[in-house]
Amino acid sequence: MRDASPAKTYALHIVVIALLFALNFVLPDYHQGLFARIMALAVFAMGYNLLFGYVGLLSLGHAMFFSAGLYGAGLTVYHLGWGVPEAFLAGIVSGALLALAIGLLALRTSGVAFMIVTMMFAQVFYLLILYFAAWTGGDQGLVIQQASRAIAIGGVSLDLTNPTVRYMGALALFSVVLLITLAIVRSRFGRVLVAIRENEERTKMLGYDTVTSKLIAVITSGAICAASGAAYALLFGYVGSNFASIQYSILPLLWVLLGGAATTLGPLIGTLFMYYVTDITSGFTSAYLLIVGVALILLVLFAPKGIMGSIRERWLGWLP
């Protein structure tokens, strides 16, 4: 990160949030729904980016944190009849606790071993969801009824199935997490995380307990991904085991690589890009995954730092 005035950086992020707010009123129905989904999933990508982009820890098991939030929120609503705010919190806490446990074990390894260990834990988590099908609905999943997806504030009831309420809910979560990530990466702690990525041994010799710093990063990342999962369950009303599969561990990696690892806005751009390439190409051909694949290969060849990473490198050195 090169030196930039904090005002400029925060202004840029506020503008992005304002832009997304304005889009709610101009987008056609279909795209409004798609954008709500993209913002909720961009939170997943931001949580992943914190660990992968800034700390340099490549996890292949983040689907478990996303689905810990998904099921933490979904199951408490479905079985216990909890309200939306309590269920949302339950989702985040589930993800944070799971991340604490996984972090303590997986951080004993690094590099390729860390990838494998996180992938194995995620696989265990996935199989547990299928095993406890009586509660989780197994591979069928659970549909959360419209009646359970409303928040009462004062005398007003906010129905999360309403497209605008849903869009604003996703935007609110996205904005909070974006500003939290920005604050983290600009903080002293953020500087230590980057130092660990660049040279862990040297960071230790500057007096830093790198293992504890990495554990805090894993928990933060897990909690953010769980927030995304919890929001997804409550906003879109479906909780399913496919969200815990390996595919959902690889997707955030792709979104972050596309958008630009270790950039605050990269996760949003990557998720947006990938969703729209898929959406547009699937309108023309059933072989749309082929086109998505080609797009990915081109990006890796010509912009290996991702969209925002390349912009930062070529034009805007001050981007966080």
């Binding site: 500087r191 041994e201 040297r202 230790k204 010799m205 007096g207």
Partner: protein, 242 residues
Amino acid sequence: MTPLLTTKGLSRQFGGLRAVDGVDFALMPGEIRAVIGPNGAGKTTFVSLLSGRIRPSSGVVVFNGVDITGMPAYQRVRLGVAYTFQITSVFANLTVFDNVALPVQRTLTDGRTKGQVRTGVMAALERTGLADRAATLAAHLSYGHQRLLEVAMGLALKPRLLILDEPTQGLADSEIDNFITLVRGIAKDATVLLIEHNMPVVMGLADRITVFNSGKILAEGTPGEIRANTEVQDAYLGATHG
């Protein structure tokens, strides 16, 4: 005066090799001590045991009255033991500023210094003559400047003991003169332990010299005493003897 650092029977074995073998060592506060010896004498292993990068097989390390033998490296740094690497090990992809900000914010967090990160960073950079390069990526610095940055990072930790592992390796003669002046300045507030091969630097800087050979201390004394010691001449300065 009580020593700042002592070791008793300090040993480290790698397989059958006794890299450091029962070393009793004492370092007085405020001195500049040079450690010399032929390649493979155990100098780097010895200072790694002091900094905590590796654990001893047996023996004790006491720093400032505290037994630090089992303490992890990062905690020793917080007590004031700083180590600069033999092979330049700056954060290449970070700016010079961020490289030095890391040690500065550490001392702030530990409450050993007060003030702003920026003030501390600029002070360390002024002292090493790197202030005008604060915004440069460390990778874009010349080798000599990278060595200076390494020293700036050590300085910024506000150490009580600064361990420099072959700091002048690869420096040009003109840079070495500046370096000697810099280390003299550092020694006003800190004790300096220096591994060095360049004899003019050793003779010009050190108050006392410890000579290692085969993992043991062969001799210890003032530069004059060491120069006159025939055992040392045989082991190390052999080329100029007889």
